[in-house]
Protein backbone atom coordinates (compact mmCIF):
# COMPACT_ATOMS: atom_id res chain seq x y z
CA UNK A 1 0.00 0.00 0.00
CA UNK A 2 1.12 3.46 -0.80
CA UNK A 3 1.89 6.25 1.50
CA UNK A 4 -0.67 8.89 0.85
CA UNK A 5 -0.06 12.46 0.18
CA UNK A 6 0.18 14.71 3.22
CA UNK A 7 -2.49 17.05 1.89
CA UNK A 8 -4.93 14.19 1.52
CA UNK A 9 -4.16 13.18 5.07
CA UNK A 10 -4.90 16.65 6.40
CA UNK A 11 -8.25 16.68 4.64
CA UNK A 12 -8.99 13.17 5.83
CA UNK A 13 -8.17 14.10 9.41
CA UNK A 14 -10.55 17.04 9.26
CA UNK A 15 -13.26 14.84 7.79
CA UNK A 16 -12.81 12.38 10.63
CA UNK A 17 -12.72 15.00 13.34
CA UNK A 18 -15.56 17.29 12.34
CA UNK A 19 -19.27 16.90 11.85
CA UNK A 20 -19.39 19.99 9.70
CA UNK A 21 -19.03 19.96 5.96
CA UNK A 22 -15.57 20.99 4.79
CA UNK A 23 -15.35 23.64 2.09
CA UNK A 24 -12.41 25.11 0.22
CA UNK A 25 -12.80 28.38 2.11
CA UNK A 26 -12.87 26.72 5.50
CA UNK A 27 -9.92 24.54 4.57
CA UNK A 28 -7.86 27.51 3.41
CA UNK A 29 -8.26 29.12 6.78
CA UNK A 30 -6.72 26.12 8.52
CA UNK A 31 -3.55 26.11 6.48
CA UNK A 32 -0.36 27.98 7.05
CA UNK A 33 0.65 30.87 4.87
CA UNK A 34 1.61 29.60 1.43
CA UNK A 35 0.24 26.12 1.95
CA UNK A 36 -2.45 25.32 -0.58
CA UNK A 37 -4.69 22.30 -1.01
CA UNK A 38 -7.13 21.87 -3.81
CA UNK A 39 -10.10 20.38 -2.03
CA UNK A 40 -11.90 18.97 -5.06
CA UNK A 41 -8.89 17.03 -6.30
CA UNK A 42 -8.09 15.76 -2.83
CA UNK A 43 -11.64 14.56 -2.27
CA UNK A 44 -11.52 12.67 -5.57
CA UNK A 45 -8.24 11.11 -4.59
CA UNK A 46 -9.55 10.02 -1.20
CA UNK A 47 -12.85 8.75 -2.52
CA UNK A 48 -10.98 6.76 -5.08
CA UNK A 49 -8.86 5.24 -2.35
CA UNK A 50 -11.88 4.42 -0.19
CA UNK A 51 -13.56 2.77 -3.09
CA UNK A 52 -10.56 0.74 -4.13
CA UNK A 53 -9.83 -0.36 -0.62
CA UNK A 54 -13.49 -1.19 -0.17
CA UNK A 55 -14.21 0.93 2.87
CA UNK A 56 -17.64 1.16 4.42
CA UNK A 57 -17.68 4.92 3.98
CA UNK A 58 -17.19 7.58 1.34
CA UNK A 59 -17.09 11.34 1.03
CA UNK A 60 -20.43 12.86 0.22
CA UNK A 61 -21.00 16.26 -1.29
CA UNK A 62 -23.60 17.86 0.91
CA UNK A 63 -24.44 21.06 2.76
CA UNK A 64 -22.14 23.15 0.61
CA UNK A 65 -19.11 21.00 1.23
CA UNK A 66 -17.94 17.48 1.92
CA UNK A 67 -18.68 15.07 4.73
CA UNK A 68 -17.92 11.46 5.47
CA UNK A 69 -20.93 9.19 5.16
CA UNK A 70 -21.41 5.47 5.50
CA UNK A 71 -22.69 3.33 2.64
CA UNK A 72 -26.31 2.31 2.74
CA UNK A 73 -25.51 -1.34 3.45
CA UNK A 74 -24.68 -0.57 7.05
CA UNK A 75 -27.82 1.35 7.86
CA UNK A 76 -29.34 -1.57 9.76
CA UNK A 77 -26.38 -1.98 12.10
CA UNK A 78 -25.81 1.70 12.67
CA UNK A 79 -29.45 2.34 13.39
CA UNK A 80 -29.44 -0.37 16.03
CA UNK A 81 -26.19 0.86 17.47
CA UNK A 82 -27.25 4.44 17.87
CA UNK A 83 -30.58 3.21 19.06
CA UNK A 84 -32.72 5.00 16.59
CA UNK A 85 -34.43 1.87 15.42
CA UNK A 86 -36.87 3.75 13.28
CA UNK A 87 -35.38 7.09 12.59
CA UNK A 88 -38.70 8.78 12.67
CA UNK A 89 -39.48 10.13 9.29
CA UNK A 90 -40.96 13.55 9.06
CA UNK A 91 -44.72 13.91 8.83
CA UNK A 92 -46.27 15.56 5.78
CA UNK A 93 -47.12 18.51 7.98
CA UNK A 94 -43.46 18.82 8.88
CA UNK A 95 -42.30 18.45 5.28
CA UNK A 96 -44.77 21.02 4.04
CA UNK A 97 -43.71 23.43 6.77
CA UNK A 98 -40.06 22.86 5.93
CA UNK A 99 -40.85 23.52 2.28
CA UNK A 100 -42.36 26.86 3.26
CA UNK A 101 -39.50 27.82 5.55
CA UNK A 102 -36.82 26.85 3.07
CA UNK A 103 -38.38 28.86 0.24
CA UNK A 104 -39.43 31.85 2.24
CA UNK A 105 -36.69 32.07 4.80
CA UNK A 106 -36.35 34.03 6.92
CA UNK A 107 -40.03 33.69 7.76
CA UNK A 108 -42.15 34.27 10.83
CA UNK A 109 -44.49 31.89 12.57
CA UNK A 110 -47.65 33.85 11.59
CA UNK A 111 -46.57 33.86 7.95
CA UNK A 112 -46.14 30.10 8.01
CA UNK A 113 -49.56 29.67 9.57
CA UNK A 114 -51.12 31.92 7.01
CA UNK A 115 -49.86 29.79 4.16
CA UNK A 116 -50.73 26.48 5.78
CA UNK A 117 -54.04 27.68 7.15
CA UNK A 118 -53.47 25.82 10.40
CA UNK A 119 -51.80 26.24 13.73
CA UNK A 120 -48.18 25.32 13.23
CA UNK A 121 -46.60 25.73 16.66
CA UNK A 122 -46.23 22.02 17.28
CA UNK A 123 -44.66 21.37 13.90
CA UNK A 124 -42.18 24.20 14.29
CA UNK A 125 -41.15 22.93 17.71
CA UNK A 126 -40.56 19.46 16.31
CA UNK A 127 -38.45 20.89 13.53
CA UNK A 128 -36.45 22.91 16.01
CA UNK A 129 -35.96 19.91 18.25
CA UNK A 130 -34.59 17.99 15.34
CA UNK A 131 -32.40 20.95 14.54
CA UNK A 132 -33.79 21.27 11.03
CA UNK A 133 -34.82 24.88 11.56
CA UNK A 134 -33.48 27.59 13.82
CA UNK A 135 -34.39 31.04 14.98
CA UNK A 136 -32.43 33.81 13.35
CA UNK A 137 -33.29 37.32 14.31
CA UNK A 138 -36.61 39.11 14.28
CA UNK A 139 -38.86 40.62 11.69
CA UNK A 140 -39.47 44.35 11.69
CA UNK A 141 -43.21 43.80 11.54
CA UNK A 142 -45.44 44.64 14.53
CA UNK A 143 -44.67 42.52 17.56
CA UNK A 144 -41.24 41.81 16.08
CA UNK A 145 -41.86 38.08 15.64
CA UNK A 146 -38.92 35.68 15.53
CA UNK A 147 -37.63 34.66 12.13
CA UNK A 148 -37.04 31.03 11.21
CA UNK A 149 -34.45 29.64 8.82
CA UNK A 150 -33.33 26.16 7.81
CA UNK A 151 -30.09 24.73 9.20
CA UNK A 152 -27.09 22.78 7.97
CA UNK A 153 -28.64 19.66 9.47
CA UNK A 154 -31.59 20.32 7.20
CA UNK A 155 -29.31 20.13 4.17
CA UNK A 156 -27.64 17.01 5.52
CA UNK A 157 -30.94 15.35 6.21
CA UNK A 158 -32.17 15.79 2.67
CA UNK A 159 -28.78 15.30 1.08
CA UNK A 160 -28.82 18.80 -0.41
CA UNK A 161 -25.85 20.89 -1.30
CA UNK A 162 -27.67 24.14 -0.68
CA UNK A 163 -31.24 25.18 -0.21
CA UNK A 164 -31.38 26.21 -3.84
CA UNK A 165 -31.07 22.52 -4.72
CA UNK A 166 -34.52 21.91 -3.38
CA UNK A 167 -37.17 20.53 -5.66
CA UNK A 168 -38.52 23.57 -7.37
CA UNK A 169 -41.87 25.05 -6.62
CA UNK A 170 -44.26 24.21 -9.39
CA UNK A 171 -45.62 27.12 -11.30
CA UNK A 172 -49.25 27.86 -10.87
CA UNK A 173 -49.95 26.96 -14.49
CA UNK A 174 -48.60 23.55 -13.97
CA UNK A 175 -50.79 23.00 -11.00
CA UNK A 176 -53.86 24.06 -12.92
CA UNK A 177 -53.02 21.82 -15.82
CA UNK A 178 -51.90 19.07 -13.57
CA UNK A 179 -55.06 19.40 -11.59
CA UNK A 180 -56.80 16.35 -12.96
CA UNK A 181 -53.98 14.28 -14.28
CA UNK A 182 -50.96 12.72 -12.83
CA UNK A 183 -48.44 15.28 -14.01
CA UNK A 184 -47.40 15.68 -10.40
CA UNK A 185 -45.60 12.43 -10.72
CA UNK A 186 -43.46 13.51 -13.58
CA UNK A 187 -41.87 16.24 -11.58
CA UNK A 188 -38.56 14.73 -10.71
CA UNK A 189 -36.59 16.32 -7.96
CA UNK A 190 -34.84 19.01 -9.85
CA UNK A 191 -31.22 19.30 -8.86
CA UNK A 192 -30.87 22.75 -10.29
CA UNK A 193 -32.08 25.91 -8.80
CA UNK A 194 -35.06 27.61 -10.30
CA UNK A 195 -36.11 31.20 -10.40
CA UNK A 196 -38.25 30.64 -7.38
CA UNK A 197 -35.42 29.27 -5.36
CA UNK A 198 -33.48 32.47 -5.49
CA UNK A 199 -35.35 34.30 -2.87
CA UNK A 200 -34.37 31.95 -0.12
CA UNK A 201 -30.94 33.28 0.32
Amino acid sequence: MKTIDINAKIVEAILIASDEAITQTKLDKCLDEGHQIDLGTTIKYLNNFYEKSDRSFFIMKVAGGYLLATHRDYEKYIRKFINRSGRIRLSYAALETLAIISYKQPITHPEIEKIRGVNSGGVISTLMERNLVAVKGRANSPGRPLLYVTTEDFLKYFGLNSSSDLPRLKELDEIIHGKNNKSQKSAEPNPLSEEKADNDK
Binding site: L15, I16, A17, S18, D19, F57, M60, V62, L67, L68, A69, T70, H71, R72, Y74, E75, I78, I82, R87, R89, L90, Y92, A93, L95, E96, L98, A99, I100, Y103, I115, R116, G117, V118, N119, M128, E129, R130, N131, V135, K156, Y157, F158, G159, L160, L166, P167, R168, L169, K170, L172, I175, I176, K179, N180, Q184, A187, P189
Partner: protein, 242 residues
Protein backbone atom coordinates in the same frame (compact mmCIF):
# COMPACT_ATOMS: atom_id res chain seq x y z
CA UNK B 1 -76.84 10.51 -1.60
CA UNK B 2 -74.32 7.77 -1.32
CA UNK B 3 -71.08 9.56 -1.61
CA UNK B 4 -68.27 7.33 -0.51
CA UNK B 5 -66.62 8.98 2.40
CA UNK B 6 -63.40 7.19 2.11
CA UNK B 7 -61.81 10.20 3.60
CA UNK B 8 -59.21 9.38 6.10
CA UNK B 9 -60.03 11.93 8.71
CA UNK B 10 -56.49 12.43 9.85
CA UNK B 11 -55.07 12.95 6.41
CA UNK B 12 -55.99 16.57 6.11
CA UNK B 13 -53.47 19.03 7.34
CA UNK B 14 -56.11 21.70 7.53
CA UNK B 15 -59.04 23.35 5.78
CA UNK B 16 -57.01 24.28 2.70
CA UNK B 17 -55.96 20.71 2.30
CA UNK B 18 -59.54 19.54 2.59
CA UNK B 19 -60.75 22.04 0.00
CA UNK B 20 -58.03 20.96 -2.39
CA UNK B 21 -59.18 17.41 -1.92
CA UNK B 22 -62.72 18.34 -2.96
CA UNK B 23 -61.45 20.29 -5.95
CA UNK B 24 -59.36 17.38 -7.15
CA UNK B 25 -61.90 14.71 -6.48
CA UNK B 26 -64.69 16.54 -8.27
CA UNK B 27 -62.39 17.86 -10.96
CA UNK B 28 -63.39 21.42 -10.29
CA UNK B 29 -61.81 24.39 -11.96
CA UNK B 30 -59.85 26.06 -9.22
CA UNK B 31 -60.32 29.48 -10.89
CA UNK B 32 -64.05 29.05 -10.98
CA UNK B 33 -64.95 27.17 -7.88
CA UNK B 34 -68.66 26.44 -7.58
CA UNK B 35 -68.82 28.01 -4.19
CA UNK B 36 -72.26 26.76 -3.21
CA UNK B 37 -71.35 23.18 -3.97
CA UNK B 38 -68.04 23.26 -2.23
CA UNK B 39 -69.47 25.00 0.81
CA UNK B 40 -72.10 22.31 1.10
CA UNK B 41 -69.51 19.57 0.86
CA UNK B 42 -67.33 21.27 3.36
CA UNK B 43 -70.12 21.67 5.88
CA UNK B 44 -71.16 18.05 5.39
CA UNK B 45 -67.67 17.04 6.21
CA UNK B 46 -67.63 19.12 9.37
CA UNK B 47 -70.96 17.62 10.36
CA UNK B 48 -69.59 14.20 9.89
CA UNK B 49 -66.60 14.99 12.04
CA UNK B 50 -69.00 16.32 14.61
CA UNK B 51 -71.11 13.17 14.48
CA UNK B 52 -68.03 11.09 14.97
CA UNK B 53 -67.23 13.19 18.00
CA UNK B 54 -64.00 14.34 16.49
CA UNK B 55 -62.69 17.56 17.73
CA UNK B 56 -62.99 20.19 15.06
CA UNK B 57 -60.12 22.61 15.06
CA UNK B 58 -60.81 26.31 15.02
CA UNK B 59 -59.32 26.71 11.57
CA UNK B 60 -61.96 24.44 10.07
CA UNK B 61 -64.73 26.48 11.60
CA UNK B 62 -63.12 29.69 10.45
CA UNK B 63 -62.93 28.39 6.91
CA UNK B 64 -66.60 27.44 7.05
CA UNK B 65 -67.47 31.03 7.79
CA UNK B 66 -65.15 32.28 5.07
CA UNK B 67 -66.87 30.01 2.56
CA UNK B 68 -70.30 31.13 3.64
CA UNK B 69 -69.32 34.76 3.42
CA UNK B 70 -67.97 34.25 -0.11
CA UNK B 71 -71.15 32.47 -1.01
CA UNK B 72 -73.19 35.37 0.32
CA UNK B 73 -71.13 37.92 -1.60
CA UNK B 74 -71.57 35.95 -4.79
CA UNK B 75 -75.29 36.31 -4.40
CA UNK B 76 -75.16 40.07 -4.20
CA UNK B 77 -76.71 41.56 -7.33
CA UNK B 78 -73.78 43.88 -7.73
CA UNK B 79 -71.48 40.99 -8.36
CA UNK B 80 -73.77 38.82 -10.46
CA UNK B 81 -74.66 41.70 -12.76
CA UNK B 82 -71.14 42.87 -13.17
CA UNK B 83 -69.63 39.47 -13.39
CA UNK B 84 -68.31 40.26 -16.84
CA UNK B 85 -66.76 43.38 -15.59
CA UNK B 86 -63.13 43.01 -14.69
CA UNK B 87 -62.80 45.80 -12.22
CA UNK B 88 -65.04 44.20 -9.67
CA UNK B 89 -63.15 41.70 -7.74
CA UNK B 90 -64.36 38.15 -7.56
CA UNK B 91 -65.01 37.36 -3.87
CA UNK B 92 -63.35 34.00 -4.42
CA UNK B 93 -60.02 35.48 -5.47
CA UNK B 94 -58.31 35.56 -2.14
CA UNK B 95 -59.27 31.99 -1.35
CA UNK B 96 -58.10 30.84 -4.76
CA UNK B 97 -54.73 32.49 -4.26
CA UNK B 98 -54.33 30.84 -0.90
CA UNK B 99 -55.27 27.46 -2.29
CA UNK B 100 -52.81 27.79 -5.12
CA UNK B 101 -50.00 28.86 -2.88
CA UNK B 102 -50.69 26.14 -0.38
CA UNK B 103 -50.86 23.57 -3.15
CA UNK B 104 -47.36 24.53 -4.27
CA UNK B 105 -45.85 23.82 -0.89
CA UNK B 106 -47.85 20.68 -0.47
CA UNK B 107 -46.41 19.39 -3.72
CA UNK B 108 -42.96 20.39 -2.70
CA UNK B 109 -43.41 18.55 0.58
CA UNK B 110 -44.03 15.41 -1.45
CA UNK B 111 -40.82 15.94 -3.39
CA UNK B 112 -38.98 16.39 -0.14
CA UNK B 113 -40.42 13.11 1.08
CA UNK B 114 -38.62 11.44 -1.83
CA UNK B 115 -35.37 13.13 -0.92
CA UNK B 116 -35.84 12.02 2.65
CA UNK B 117 -36.28 8.42 1.54
CA UNK B 118 -33.19 8.63 -0.66
CA UNK B 119 -31.04 9.99 2.10
CA UNK B 120 -32.31 8.33 5.21
CA UNK B 121 -29.98 5.38 4.96
CA UNK B 122 -26.82 7.43 4.91
CA UNK B 123 -25.19 8.32 8.18
CA UNK B 124 -22.74 11.14 8.41
CA UNK B 125 -19.60 11.18 10.45
CA UNK B 126 -20.45 11.94 14.03
CA UNK B 127 -17.23 12.49 15.92
CA UNK B 128 -17.00 12.40 19.66
CA UNK B 129 -15.43 15.78 20.22
CA UNK B 130 -14.59 15.06 23.82
CA UNK B 131 -11.86 12.80 22.60
CA UNK B 132 -10.95 14.34 19.30
CA UNK B 133 -10.30 17.74 20.80
CA UNK B 134 -8.32 16.36 23.64
CA UNK B 135 -6.03 19.32 23.88
CA UNK B 136 -8.64 21.98 23.58
CA UNK B 137 -9.32 23.82 26.77
CA UNK B 138 -12.66 22.92 28.24
CA UNK B 139 -13.39 26.62 28.68
CA UNK B 140 -13.49 26.99 24.93
CA UNK B 141 -15.87 24.22 24.22
CA UNK B 142 -19.52 24.74 23.92
CA UNK B 143 -21.22 21.46 23.34
CA UNK B 144 -23.98 22.61 21.08
CA UNK B 145 -25.46 24.70 23.85
CA UNK B 146 -26.93 28.01 22.80
CA UNK B 147 -28.26 30.93 24.76
CA UNK B 148 -31.73 29.69 24.06
CA UNK B 149 -30.92 26.26 25.43
CA UNK B 150 -29.62 27.51 28.70
CA UNK B 151 -32.51 29.79 29.34
CA UNK B 152 -34.81 27.01 28.28
CA UNK B 153 -33.30 24.45 30.62
CA UNK B 154 -33.21 26.77 33.56
CA UNK B 155 -36.68 28.02 32.98
CA UNK B 156 -38.01 24.53 32.41
CA UNK B 157 -36.91 23.56 35.84
CA UNK B 158 -38.10 26.75 37.51
CA UNK B 159 -41.52 26.19 36.01
CA UNK B 160 -41.92 22.87 37.73
CA UNK B 161 -41.67 24.46 41.11
CA UNK B 162 -44.77 26.03 42.67
CA UNK B 163 -44.65 29.79 42.89
CA UNK B 164 -45.27 29.87 46.64
CA UNK B 165 -41.75 28.88 47.30
CA UNK B 166 -40.30 31.94 45.62
CA UNK B 167 -38.90 33.97 48.42
CA UNK B 168 -39.74 37.63 48.14
CA UNK B 169 -37.04 38.49 50.53
CA UNK B 170 -33.78 36.77 51.02
CA UNK B 171 -34.45 33.89 53.33
CA UNK B 172 -32.03 31.68 55.06
CA UNK B 173 -32.22 28.34 53.41
CA UNK B 174 -30.59 25.34 54.86
CA UNK B 175 -28.62 24.63 51.75
CA UNK B 176 -25.32 25.64 50.29
CA UNK B 177 -23.22 24.93 47.24
CA UNK B 178 -21.06 22.37 49.03
CA UNK B 179 -24.11 20.37 50.05
CA UNK B 180 -25.41 20.37 46.55
CA UNK B 181 -22.02 19.40 45.15
CA UNK B 182 -22.09 16.39 47.49
CA UNK B 183 -25.63 15.71 46.41
CA UNK B 184 -24.49 15.66 42.78
CA UNK B 185 -21.70 13.27 43.59
CA UNK B 186 -24.23 10.78 44.94
CA UNK B 187 -25.30 10.27 41.34
CA UNK B 188 -21.79 9.37 40.33
CA UNK B 189 -21.44 6.48 42.73
CA UNK B 190 -22.74 3.98 40.22
CA UNK B 191 -22.21 5.68 36.92
CA UNK B 192 -20.28 8.54 35.48
CA UNK B 193 -23.18 10.14 33.64
CA UNK B 194 -26.48 11.47 34.80
CA UNK B 195 -29.23 13.43 33.17
CA UNK B 196 -29.86 16.96 34.35
CA UNK B 197 -33.56 16.21 34.73
CA UNK B 198 -32.78 13.27 37.01
CA UNK B 199 -30.70 15.44 39.25
CA UNK B 200 -33.37 18.08 39.70
CA UNK B 201 -36.41 15.83 39.65
CA UNK B 202 -36.74 15.48 43.41
CA UNK B 203 -35.93 19.07 44.23
CA UNK B 204 -39.11 20.88 45.10
CA UNK B 205 -37.78 24.13 46.39
CA UNK B 206 -36.75 26.91 44.05
CA UNK B 207 -33.90 28.15 46.16
CA UNK B 208 -32.45 24.67 46.56
CA UNK B 209 -32.79 24.26 42.87
CA UNK B 210 -30.96 27.46 42.08
CA UNK B 211 -28.20 26.52 44.48
CA UNK B 212 -27.96 23.13 42.76
CA UNK B 213 -27.78 24.83 39.42
CA UNK B 214 -25.00 27.09 40.65
CA UNK B 215 -23.23 24.03 42.09
CA UNK B 216 -23.37 22.45 38.65
CA UNK B 217 -21.92 25.57 37.03
CA UNK B 218 -19.23 25.69 39.66
CA UNK B 219 -18.33 22.05 39.05
CA UNK B 220 -18.11 22.69 35.34
CA UNK B 221 -15.83 25.59 35.96
CA UNK B 222 -13.54 23.56 38.16
CA UNK B 223 -13.77 20.76 35.63
CA UNK B 224 -15.17 18.20 38.01
CA UNK B 225 -17.92 17.56 35.52
CA UNK B 226 -18.70 18.36 31.95
CA UNK B 227 -22.08 18.95 30.50
CA UNK B 228 -23.40 18.39 27.03
CA UNK B 229 -26.48 17.78 25.01
CA UNK B 230 -27.00 15.16 22.37
CA UNK B 231 -29.23 17.56 20.54
CA UNK B 232 -30.93 20.90 20.71
CA UNK B 233 -33.64 20.80 23.39
CA UNK B 234 -32.51 17.43 24.62
CA UNK B 235 -31.91 16.98 28.27
CA UNK B 236 -28.43 17.91 29.47
CA UNK B 237 -26.16 15.07 30.36
CA UNK B 238 -23.79 15.64 33.23
CA UNK B 239 -20.64 13.59 33.10
CA UNK B 240 -18.08 13.21 35.82
CA UNK B 241 -14.54 14.10 34.84
CA UNK B 242 -12.02 11.71 36.30
Amino acid sequence: MERKYQINLDTFEGPLDLLLYFIKRDELNIYDIPIAKITREYLEYLNMMHTLDLQIAGEFVEMASTLMSIKAKMLLPRFSEASENDDIEDPRNELVQRLLEYQQYKEMGKEMKKLEEENISYFHRNPNLTYVDRNIDAEEILHKISLFDILTAFKNVLDKIPDESIPHEVQLEDVNIDDQTKYLYTFFIKKSKVNFSTVVKTIKNRVVLIVTFVAILEMIKTQQIRIYQTDLFEDFIIEKVE
